[in-house]
């Protein structure tokens, strides 16, 4: 595969020192309706950042502000030492892959890809060779002369990607680019997109509502909730150490346990375990896969575990795992993920390690 960007540009020695893009206290309202509130985040050179959120969380608006299609009500956006938010979109070294690709229907694939280079008035030979490279990169060389209406959704997606990357942007914005593809193609494109990003070394800002997609592809995930940044962290961290109840529930599946800390010990229903938290009410997230059914023959997984009993109410088949709903005597209801293929029923002996119960902030209701 041909590389499309010079290595010097891709990985400048300054990477890490100064962020490529910094979004500083950006807010946006449409009329009286606030869409984004005080968003600050930084994107490093070569980073794959995903902006994740439900519909209406403001994720697309944030992307459009970076691209320049919307202007922020307040706040600033800087690309290294250049203030970006005061420039029109056509002066920003940022390119976008649109949700529905937005290929020009009157131009061929080749002309679509070369569009940015031709409006920049580059010499014809350079346009031709760079378009060829870009088409080779997305494996679409044979379709060079086709019109967009004649190629499939997945192919249009590749052309949209080539059309953006051929301009060697500092930053590539992707607005739910995979949402129109069917599940199989989607998974395939996730892998391709990620390896392409590593290859070209350009920073990607990827917008999606699909948490699984976000986990597979990203270096970091920025979770938006109703216009505010809920948490920004690596996929492993955001999954393993969710900061809020909302994060824990939105990313993956979780059990939320309400407890009360008193003198270094938390009491949650009839269970208790030692914690290093100040006294007061506390909320824990406990992932279903961190709960185990104790197999008496094998014994428990560790010494420092909390054991309790619960009755199976429901068992659902999820392919590689089963999800059990259990209810304890004190009324506590929990979901448990188990890999064993057994039909569970009646009372079970259950356990979890206290370190897997992560204290999370309550997500306050916002209107």
């Amino acid at each position: 595969m041909a590389t499309i960007i010079e290595p010097t540009l891709a990985r400048s020695p300054s990477s890490g020192a100064q962020p490529l893009l910094s979004i500083r206290n950006v807010a946006k309202s449409f009329g009286k309706n606030p869409v984004l509130r005080d968003i600050s985040l930084q994107i490093a050179e070569g980073e794959f950042l995903t902006i994740l959120g439900e519909s209406g969380s403001g994720k697309t608006t944030l992307l459009r502000i970076i691209a320049g299609f919307e202007s922020a009500t307040s706040g600033e956006i800087w690309m290294e030492d250049e203030r970006l938010d005061i420039l029109p979109p056509y002066r920003r070294r940022v390119n976008t892959v649109f949700q529905h690709y937005a290929l020009f229907p009157h131009l061929t694939v080749e002309e679509n890809v070369g569009y940015g280079l031709r409006v920049a008035k580059l010499p014809r030979e350079e346009v031709t060779s760079r378009v060829e490279q870009a088409l080779a990169m997305v494996k679409m060389t044979t379709y060079a002369k086709s019109k967009p209406a004649k190629i499939s959704g997945g192919q249009q997606q590749r052309i949209a990607l080539a059309r953006a990357l051929v301009n060697r942007p500092r930053l590539l914005l992707l607005d739910e680019p995979l949402s129109a593809l069917d599940a199989n193609l989607r998974r395939q494109m996730q892998v391709e997109l990620k390896s392409l990003q590593r290859e070209v070394g350009i920073s990607f800002v990827f917008v999606t509502h699909d948490q699984e997609e976000a986990m597979v592809m990203s270096d970091r995930i920025a979770l938006l909730r109703r216009g505010e940044l809920e948490q920004i962290a690596s996929p492993r961290e955001i999954y393993g150490k969710p900061a809020t109840a909302y994060t824990a529930q939105f990313i993956g599946h979780t059990n939320l346990l309400q407890g009360e800390v008193k003198g270094g010990v938390v009491r949650c229903h009839s269970l208790d375990w030692p914690v290093g938290l100040p006294d007061g009410p506390v909320l824990f997230s406990l992932r279903p896969e961190n709960l185990r059914v104790v197999n008496l023959a094998v014994g428990s997984a560790g010494v420092n575990v909390i054991r309790f009993r619960g009755r199976v109410c429901h068992q659902a088949f999820h392919g590689s795992t089963d999800l059990l709903q259990v209810e304890c005597e004190d009324g506590l209801k929990l979901s448990i993920r188990t890999a064993t293929r057994e039909n569970w029923h009646g009372e079970l002996e259950l356990e979890f390690s206290p370190e897997d119960a992560v204290a999370v902030r309550k997500s306050e209701e916002r209107v």
Partner: protein
């Protein structure tokens, strides 16, 4: 899905309509164009090509036809020059006032054509509004007589009347351009000017062709504007047809000219439609 009887029943009214008001008149027109008039003013029902020979040999007919086409061409160009920027502004930059402006363009269409043509007569006449104003501000000493009863008056009036017809299809085609294409163009570094010429204009060509066809075809066959404002130098082909069917009592020649006009217009519509197809991508 629907019964045969139902389908037959609903297709009868349009078929009758087409037969009575289109097929029969055109067939009559076709027949008349090959008949002739006897010296004692009766129609001779025997086939002849004399009418078509006259049409191509008597200078005044061809001259008038070419003048009509030249007037129609100018009306077409001016209607597009006025209609396109208007449609572009409305579609892309009018914002909340879009609906209002759109209505302002449409409302004149409710006003009788005749009234609008007469209005131009009172504006352009030798003691009309415009000449009075020009003399009042001392720009001219005498009334300008080329304003009324000239091809100029005809072109001006027809442009005024047919600009909405050019505007509407252009506006519709601009409204159909997905706005994310405009954003994509800006995103790829194209200035608004480049975006217009590389994306917006090419995608609006079907509308421009439709608008051009409307303006040209409608003005080509117009006879009221030249009658009221054209004077001897502004006579158009339809005025000749009217007089042949009226005072001159030469229906066969009138029919031959009409049929030629009809063929010309059909050819133009066919050409414009095939071009439109070439320029639409959905």
């Amino acid at each position: 899905m629907f019964s045969r009887a139902y389908r037959a029943a609903i297709s009868v009214p349009p078929l009758v309509w087409v037969a009575v008001f289109l097929l029969v008149p055109y067939a009559l027109l076709f027949c008349y164009s090959f008949w002739s008039v006897s010296p004692n003013q009766t129609i001779v029902h025997s086939w002849t090509l004399d009418n078509y020979r006259d049409l191509f040999q008597v200078n005044v007919y061809l001259q008038t036809l070419f003048r009509s086409m030249w007037i129609a061409a100018r009306v077409m160009v001016f209607s597009l020059l006025l209609g396109y920027p208007l449609a572009y502004y409305l579609s892309f930059h009018a914002g909340a006032r879009k609906e209002l402006f759109y209505q302002l363009v449409i409302i004149p269409l409710w006003v009788s054509y005749l009234v609008r043509a007469y209005a131009w007569k009172t504006i352009l006449g030798s003691d009309g509004v415009l000449n009075t104003l020009l003399q009042y501000v001392q720009l001219t000493q005498h009334p300008l007589d080329f304003l009324l009863y000239s091809p100029f008056a005809v072109v001006l009036t027809l442009t005024h009347i047919y600009t909405p017809f050019a505007f509407l299809p252009i506006y519709a085609s601009l409204e159909h351009i997905p706005r994310n294409l405009v954003e994509a163009s800006h995103d790829l570094g194209a200035s608004p000017f480049q975006t217009f010429w590389r994306v917006i204009f090419p995608l609006s060509i079907p509308g421009v062709l439709a608008g051009a066809t409307f303006a040209f075809v409608l003005s080509l066959g117009d006879f009221l504007a030249p009658l009221l404002l054209g004077g001897p130098s502004g006579i158009m082909i339809s005025n000749i047809v009217v007089s042949l069917f009226g005072a001159a009592y030469n229906w066969p020649l009138g029919a031959a000219i009409s049929l030629c006009m009809l063929l010309l217009v059909l050819a133009l519509i066919y050409l414009s439609e095939s071009l439109e197809k070439k320029w639409s991508f959905r």
